[in-house]
Structure formats: structure tokens, C-alpha cells
Amino acid sequence: IIGRSKIDDDLMDEVEDILLQTDVGVNMVSKIIDNIRDRIDKESANAPERIVPFLKDEIRSVFMTERAPAGPLPPSSSTRPHVILMVGVNGTGKTTTIGKLAYRYKNQGNKVLLAAADTFRAAAIEQLEIWADRADVDIVSHQMGADPASVAFDSFKAARAREVDVLIIDTAGRLQTKVNLMEEVKKIKRVLTKQQEGIPQETLMVLDATTGQNGISQAKRFHEALNLTGIVLTKLDGTAKGGIVVAIKDQLNIPVTMIGIGENIEDLRDFDPEEFVDALFG
């Protein structure tokens, strides 16, 4: 951008490359570039130094339309427990994120309960038990191979009985194309909704920031199956930009509520569109 006297095709090609690198995807890039071109024409602002502010503006506005509040929802005492269902494909950081979230809610003075409803993967229950211990919260678990829906069911009963403020349910990683696994997670949600209308209040899909265009397919299918309330974007402490969430917000209007920035219990932040957009071009 520096040293350019006007906005020309070469510059726009470079802008395209910068955008592509962030994983927003080729369709989103075309859309953004078209809007930038329109804006340059309208404002007859053939000034290269206007490009980056235009880009940031353009992307920020994707997050600002129909904007939901960022961060975890505060539990409302009238609809206790506040139930959060964590879902997503394999290895994205669901179990770790639950540990972080439990810690945060606990420090805010909430009574927190975790449910180990990943009864499939080796040592999944043990892993969540360690996080429960670190966050100093209780956990409901059965044994490996148990029906995840029954773990969810029992955890809700326990949450009611123990007057828990927040119940967070861990589920097994699953690829969105596996019909039987998507049916399984739909059943977990149904079982909860049958117990109390309106729960789970949050259904969060955990998405790895290194994920490319498949993120859209993940969001689409998990949303169709479960009606997602938000996305947690993890591993932003790496070099991946996580730009796929721009396309997801644009196409499906699912907001990012939190981001994971490391493997420790405090490495969770509320999503800040300003910071995120700045980091895209960082």
C-alpha cells in the first residue's frame, strides 16, 4: 500500500491475496472486493491509504449487523440452571474450553456443574474430570460407552437438585457429515428440552481457527441440527486468522461469542470484532 499513487488492479490483486490468506474464502473475498470498489467509486477516493480502513470497515460491519452480545451469557436466576451444550468436530478444543468456561463462571460466584457426555473417546471422561478439579467444580459422569443422552439427562436432574447456576455439557467430537452422530447429538438436545422448555439456553459450536472452508459446512450442519447460539473460535494464539467466521456470520448469521487463546484455564476471551478485524490485517 505504501508508495502507491492510486488504486489499480495490481493493488486490488494484492488486497485479494491478503484477504485469501485469512481463510475468509474466495466467495467472501469477491464480495468484499466488489463492495470496496463500489465505495471507491462513490467516494471517488482513489487513495490507496483508504483501502485498509475500508476493508476493516467492511468486515466489521459483517459482525455488527444483527449483533448478539459477546461473551458467555450471564445465568438468569429465573431459569436456573443455565445450560450450555458444547458441540463441534474432533479435536477443536471443546473439553478444554469447558474447563476455561467453568473457571470463569465459578470466579463470578456461580455454582457450576459439568457433564461428561463424551462417553466414546478414550480418556475423554478422565480429561474433563481433571478440568473440573482445576476449576474446582462438580462433575456428573457415567462410564465409557454409556448413552450420552442419559448422562445429559442425569446431569440436568443433578443440576436442579443441587440448585446449580450453570450446567455445561461436553459432547464427543463428531464430523458434521456423519448422520448417526448428528442424530445422537440432536437426541441429547431433545432429551434436555423435554426436561425444561428453553434449555439448553446456549448451544455453542467450537471451531478451530486453523480450519479452512470446511468451517462453513460445519456451521451449516450443526446449525441445521441444533440451532446454534454461537461459536467459540479456538487456537487463535497460533498463526491462523480464523477468517472463516466472517463467511459464517455473513451466510448464516451465527456470531462468535468467545475465543480461545491458549491451553491454560484463563485463556478465554470475549469476542471483540474490533480486535479480531485488526488481527486479520496484523
Binding site: D17, L20, Q21, T22, D23, G25, V26, N27, V89, N90, G91, T92, G93, F120, R121, A122, A123, E126, Q127, E129, I130, W131, L175, Q176, T177, K178, D208, A209, T210, T211, G212, Q213, N214, G215, S217, K235, D237, G238, T239, A240, K241, I244, E263
Partner: protein
């Protein structure tokens, strides 16, 4: 067989004679789009397209297919050749045990891959040992033990002590005593920009001198594949890639990106959570998958 939107674009390009530069340019614009949608890194896509352009120019058009289809054929052949170009066998040591180290980002599928490889080698009549060298992740050792048991192999681990390098060294003596001829070292997930953790891998490598280092990479990785693979290569000089979670609908363009930037072949693909879901890499199948 390439289907879908690429075909419809190419149906428009009919005619005989030589492939014109215009035919090729138009077709390649669509191919570039398909590659980017498939998560191929934008620079890698550009280089690949340039290569294909050179190959395609001046080719005679055959009467039975459209020029566009012909360009696709050149693309497919070139992609298959690139992906399959380098030798893809695991480096086995003439003197056992063969030492294989698994490295990669958090959550890419290393521990599961260690179990799969253990089972794979056991099926080939080898005596494998799985080493649980991840001392950080909660219940990592439990996970490795359970997978080793399913694979029917022993699992070396140390619950006290804090240096993965020592664990790996001890594991080798143990493996030799047990008459193992393949030892699989599962390491903790880490960021390529975490110098301390990358240094840990370098220390393990220097100490045990593995015959094979496999980068375990998630098949749905986007543009970051180039950074990640490039950095792991710079620190470690790995031997091959094991691409995971290809049982989903990710196109897997990261395969081409990582191969282009490191020159290292994809040796295995993981296509499911179960231990039997491991295959040798097939470049032609990957080429079709990337092209959508």
C-alpha cells in the same frame, strides 16, 4: 471423474484445433477458484496454475472431448503427479527398532494416529511399542494406554518425572529389552511459533535420532497449512505427513500446500476415529477430492 460446476463451465468451451491461450486462461480461472475453495494456499494455487498453463499451451485438442475437459485432464494429471511424486514408504531401519516420531499442532490427531500405526505395523507382523511422551495434556497418558491396549501393543509411559526427552530415551531401552522392532513416539500438540516447545522436539530428535518423523496434520486445515508445515520443517526436517479426518467433506487442499512448501510426501491418511481407519496415501484419489 470430475463432476459438478467445473464441468458446466467447460461445456461452454467447444471447438477443435489447438488449445488456445484463451481456452486455457478461462478454464484455469475456474480451476483456481476450485483450488482456493478446496483450501489450497493462494500462492501454491498460483504456482500450480502457472505450471499447468505451460503444459497445456499448444496441446492438440482431441475430437472426443472439449478443450475445457482437456485442460481439466492436464490439471488432474499434474496434481496427481505432484501429490504422488516423492517416495512414500516409511524409512525402516535395517537394525531394529525403527523409531517413528509423531508431531503436530494441538488436536490434529497424533495420539489416535499412534494407535493406528501401532495396529498397522502389528498387522504386518511387527512388534510395536507406543510411547506416551505428552506430559502436558490432561489424561494424555490414559488416552495413549487405552489406544495401545486396543491396538494390542504395550504402552511405555512415566507418570512422574518431567522431561519427555528422558521418557523417550527410557522407552528405547524398554523397547529393545522387549524385542520391539517399531517404536512410536506420541508427542504433545504444540504451536510452530512456540519456540520452547519446538525446541523440545529438537531435543528429542537429537537424543533419539528417529528414522522417521511424521507431521500429523488435520485434513481441514486452511491457508495456515503453509506456515505450520514450513515452520515444523524449518525446526525439524520431518520425513512425511499423515493427514487426518479425511472421512469428512473437507476437500483437503492443505495436502497440496504442505507438499509444495516442504517437498515432503503424504504417507498415510486417517479416515475415521477407529484404529483400523488408516490408509496408505493415494495421490489420484486426493487429486479428485481437491478438484471437487
Amino acid at each position: 471423474e470430475l463432476t459438478g460446476k467445473l464441468e458446466t463451465v467447460f461445456k461452454k468451451l467447444r471447438g477443435y484445433g489447438k488449445l488456445s491461450e484463451k481456452n486455457i486462461q478461462d478454464s484455469l480461472r475456474e480451476v483456481r477458484r476450485a483450488l482456493l475453495e478446496a483450501d489450497v494456499h493462494y500462492k501454491v494455487a498460483r504456482q500450480f496454475i502457472a505450471r499447468v498453463q505451460e503444459k497445456a499451451i499448444g496441446q492438440d485438442v482431441f475430437k472426443s472431448i472439449t478443450p475445457g475437459q482437456q485442460v481439466i485432464r492436464v490439471v488432474y494429471d499434474e496434481l496427481t503427479a505432484l501429490l504422488g511424486g516423492t517416495a512414500r514408504d516409511v524409512h525402516f531401519s535395517p537394525v531394529p527398532p525403527t523409531l517413528i516420531m509423531l508431531v503436530g499442532l494441538q488436536g490434529s490427531g497424533k495420539t489416535t494416529a499412534a494407535g493406528k500405526l501401532a495396529r498397522y505395523f502389528r498387522q504386518k507382523g511387527r512388534k510395536a511399542l507406543l510411547v506416551a511422551a505428552d506430559i502436558y495434556r490432561p489424561a494424555a497418558i490414559d488416552q495413549a494406554e487405552i489406544l495401545a491396549r486396543s491396538a494390542g501393543v504395550p504402552c511405555f509411559h512415566r507418570r512422574e518425572g518431567t522431561d519427555p526427552v528422558d521418557i523417550c530415551v527410557e522407552a528405547i531401552s524398554f523397547g529393545q529389552q522387549e524385542g520391539c522392532d517399531v517404536i512410536l513416539f506420541d508427542t504433545a500438540g504444540r504451536l510452530h511459533i512456540d519456540d520452547e516447545m519446538m525446541n523440545e522436539l529438537v531435543r528429542i530428535k537429537k537424543k533419539i535420532v528417529p528414522h522417521e518423523i511424521l507431521l500429523v496434520a488435520d485434513g481441514m486445515t486452511g491457508q495456515d497449512a503453509v506456515n505450520m508445515a514450513g515452520q515444523f520443517q524449518a525446526h525439524l526436517e520431518f520425513d512425511g505427513i499423515l493427514l487426518t479426518k479425511l472421512d469428512g467433506d473437507a476437500r483437503g487442499g492443505a495436502a497440496l500446500s504442505m507438499l509444495s512448501v516442504t517437498g515432503k510426501p503424504i504417507k498415510f491418511v486417517s479416515v475415521g476415529e477407529k484404529l483400523d481407519a488408516l490408509e496408505r496415501f493415494h495421490p489420484d484419489r486426493m487429486a479428485s477430492r481437491i478438484l471437487g
